[in-house]
């Protein structure tokens, strides 16, 4: 510990000798020092791996091999012609859409319920956040068992009501639904709380005015609440996008047995991050190819985020209360 304390920054010693100069230095430099830890950590754990991954993606890089010959863009050209890559992309987007849309709708509905005068309101509000604090892996394992083909509870219930069992793990759409259920179970409450906070910021008099104009509860919700929530909804959508495009633990733990990283025998629910892992690690150990997947995923997230920002500017800007009032 002494070693670390000795390494004092240049601005620290003897303030009484020349307070003017030092204090000016202090004003100039210390802000940078305050934020330095973030940039240091970001540099080590963010920027460096990012750049290194790009460097690796330009090589034929066997994880265990001693030589890593430079191959230029070959990994990328091969990847763009790789049907399994596009398949994984479709899976990722498919799971993203069928998880995010119901999730945000449900969150909106829950937030609206919680915004009313319920008994034990705080209790309810805390309760909907509980799924969010459970371990993802544990949730995925439990859901994996619930959606089992033969011993799963969901298929047992379907059987009770006389329906055919569903191949949750080897039917592409069914596996998307099962994984989306997992994601939604975990994140709906979180989004509901954020939307609830935004709802509470809406001035009461808007509702009073609407009520005087004869708008019923539903009309108030769609014409007052939802438009004013748009920026928050888009924020939730962006967070869901980032999480959704990087989805890994849920689909990975959903499958068990040999090579679960495949996401089913026909890659029914293999997401891009799983495809990246499959190539960079077992069974291919092709680090270069896996890194190329990582960079294309990065590009994809950047594109989707840009689209989100555009949407945010457009929708969020138009519907600000002041402008709404001016119309």
């Amino acid at each position: 510990m002494t070693v670390q304390l000795d390494a004092r920054p240049p601005v620290a010693p003897a303030p009484q000798r020349s307070p003017g100069r030092l204090s000016r230095l202090d004003t100039r430099l210390s802000p940078y020092l305050y934020i330095a830890p973030f940039f240091l950590i970001f540099g080590i754990f963010g920027a460096y791996p990012l750049a290194y991954t790009f460097w690796v993606s330009l090589h034929d890089w066997d994880l265990l091999g001693a030589d890593h010959p430079f191959v230029g863009a070959e990994n990328y050209t091969r990847l763009l012609a790789d049907a399994d890559f596009w398949h994984a992309l479709v899976n990722t987007l498919g799971i993203f859409v069928i998880s995010t849309v119901p999730q945000l709708l449900a969150a909106l509905w829950l937030a609206n319920l919680l915004n009313r005068g319920l008994r034990a309101r705080t209790g309810w509000r805390m309760a909907i956040l509980v799924p969010n604090v459970t371990s993802t892996a544990a949730v995925a394992i439990v859901f994996g068992v619930l959606f089992g083909r033969e011993f799963g509870m969901i298929n047992w219930v379907l059987d009770l009501v006389g329906l055919d069992a569903i191949q949750w793990k080897s039917n592409r759409f069914a596996s998307w639904v099962a994984i989306s259920a997992m994601v939604d179970w975990r994140w709906t409450g979180y989004n509901a709380l954020i939307l609830l906070a935004a709802m509470q910021a809406i001035p009461r008099d808007l509702y009073e005015a609407a009520a005087i104009d004869g708008a019923n509860r539903a009309r108030q919700f769609w014409s007052v609440t939802v438009p004013l929530l748009k920026p928050t909804i888009i924020f939730c959508a962006i967070i869901a996008t980032i999480g959704g495009l990087q989805l890994f633990t849920e689909p990975r733990m959903f499958h068990s047995g040999t090579n679960p990283i495949r996401g089913g025998p026909l890659r029914e629910s293999q997401t891009l991050t799983m495809y990246m892992f499959e190539n960079a690690f077992a069974p291919h150990y092709n680090f270069g190819y896996g890194s190329a997947v990582a960079w294309l995923l990065f590009a994809l997230i950047a594109i989707v985020a840009a689209v989100n920002v555009l949407l945010l500017r457009r929708l969020g800007g138009v519907d600000r209360p002041q402008k709404g009032a001016a119309r």
Binding site: L5, A12, L40, G144, S170, I261, L266, A282
Partner: protein, 434 residues
């Protein structure tokens, strides 16, 4: 106002110290201390070493042994091992390497201690010749690993379910039911007709691999790759033959479709949902762990249809990154000695690769109480010395994954056998090229 700057200096110093602390935290290393040497052993599945560790630690008070990985399957274990080796740290001092992955690790021998430099050459006579050779690099100059077990194959079956289906239950009579795989299928059809509520076998992929290794061992001696490391998945008749036999099994509706090593597979063991499972020697330990004590005495072991075969078996290697190489080598030699192999066999059933161990009365006379007192030593050990090994090519694991997945798609009804075969060949070629 006078206090304020000083407080800020303190804050700046704190921020800088935090940054230093964070960076320093990354460089921490585990220095070998003066206390006992701790050796980490990395395994998968059931190696049965617990008692041997105790024995070894008693004889060598300066050594403490920690084991990781018992019960994990190979698909979880091998990527971790590869990452540790690639990263240069994290691997145990002694690591188990399965035969299908050995070729890949041998291609980069610099990751491992050359056991020939540490007096291992004298041990050659302690191992079956092919098992010893499998641990050598292509040029024969480096020995990566010492053999642990071989995977002689039998057929494990549930006596209670056989009785329910009106089939013989005594192991010799059961062996006579299926001299060949078509006979096995015919027996399965009888079993299915009796409607016991259980399937005849667990799943098609394990059975496929058994048939493949048996067929390949009895013919060309290689499966997906020939000995010049050329991919022959579509031209090796052994692969096609194993595929077709497996399709017949699926067609007859014998498979319970439990994906091997999945949660459902484990549940199916517990709930007695299938009657037979292809059974390399090491599988007996897996069955016991999965089916639990409740099924003790309900299982028994018969001959495998067809003729013998070898599936699996491992080597113990010492990574170069180990900080206690000398001690680790000593431990690896102990665990792979005839005595060590007999101990492991008694605990969890992996069949020794040492001819001395195979001849030892402790093996030849061994019975397994869990499997109704089956003479496991005689069943697995008799053919072990004449086992014909199957050559595994560089991307064996990746190719096997693709072919077995194709089998699985047919089993689940997603593909017909012809489409499945096309998938198997196409995807195997793609995987081999990666």
């Amino acid at each position: 106002m006078a206090v304020f700057p000083r407080r800020r200096h303190a804050a700046v110093a704190l921020a800088a110290a935090t940054a230093l602390l964070v960076t320093a935290g990354c460089g921490g290393g585990d220095e070998p201390g003066d206390g006992p040497v701790t050796l980490t052993v990395d395994v998968f599945g059931q190696f049965g070493y617990e008692q041997l560790y105790q024995e070894y630690m008693t004889a060598n008070p300066g050594v403490k042994i920690v084991e990781r990985g018992t019960g994990t399957n190979l698909d979880e274990y091998s990527p971790k091992l590869t990452q540790w080796l690639a990263a240069g740290r994290g691997a145990g001092d002694v690591v188990a390497i399965e035969e299908g992955l050995l070729v890949e690790y041998k291609a980069n021998p610099a990751n491992f201690v050359n056991l020939l430099d540490h007096g291992a050459a004298d041990l050659k006579g302690n191992f079956l010749e092919w098992k010893w050779n499998a641990g050598l690099t292509a040029d024969g100059k480096q020995l990566i690993g010492l053999g642990t077990d071989v995977g002689g194959i039998a057929m494990c079956y549930r006596k209670d379910l056989f009785q329910k289906a009106g089939l013989p239950t005594e192991r010799d009579a059961v062996s006579k039911l299926w001299p060949t795989w078509p006979d096995y299928i015919a027996t399965g059809e009888k079993f299915t007709a009796a409607k016991t509520g259980a399937s005849f076998l667990d799943g098609a992929t394990n059975t496929f691999n058994t048939i493949l290794l048996q067929t390949a061992g009895n013919s060309s001696g290689y499966s997906y790759y020939d000995t010049s490391e050329k991919l022959v998945v579509d031209s090796n008749p052994a692969v096609r033959q194993a595929y077709d036999t497996t399709m017949d099994i699926i067609d007859s509706g014998l498979s319970g479709k439990y994906g091997s090593w999945s949660e459902e597979w484990v549940s199916a063991f517990k709930q007695s949902k299938f009657a037979t499972i292809a059974c390399p020697a090491w599988m007996t330990g897996v069955i016991e762990a999965n089916a639990g004590t409740g099924a003790q005495g309900k299982w028994d072991i018969a001959q495998v249809p067809g003729n013998g075969g070898n599936w699996g078996g491992s080597h113990l290697a010492v990574p170069k990154q180990s900080k206690h190489q000398a001690e680790a080598i000593k431990l690896a030699k102990f665990l792979t000695s005839a005595k060590g192999q007999i101990g492991a066999f008694k605990a969890k059933g992996p069949l020794p690769s040492s001819p001395q161990a195979l001849d030892d009365p402790a093996i030849t006379g061994a019975t397994n109480a869990y499997f109704s007192g089956a003479p496991v030593g005689a069943i697995f050990g008799t053919g072990a010395k004449s086992l014909k090994p199957v050559y595994m090519g560089p991307k064996n694991q990746a190719v096997r994954t693709e072919v077995e997945n194709a089998v699985r798609t047919v089993e689940l009804g997603q593909r017909d056998p012809a489409q499945g075969w096309t998938d198997a060949v196409t995807n195997a070629k793609k995987a081999a090229a990666k």
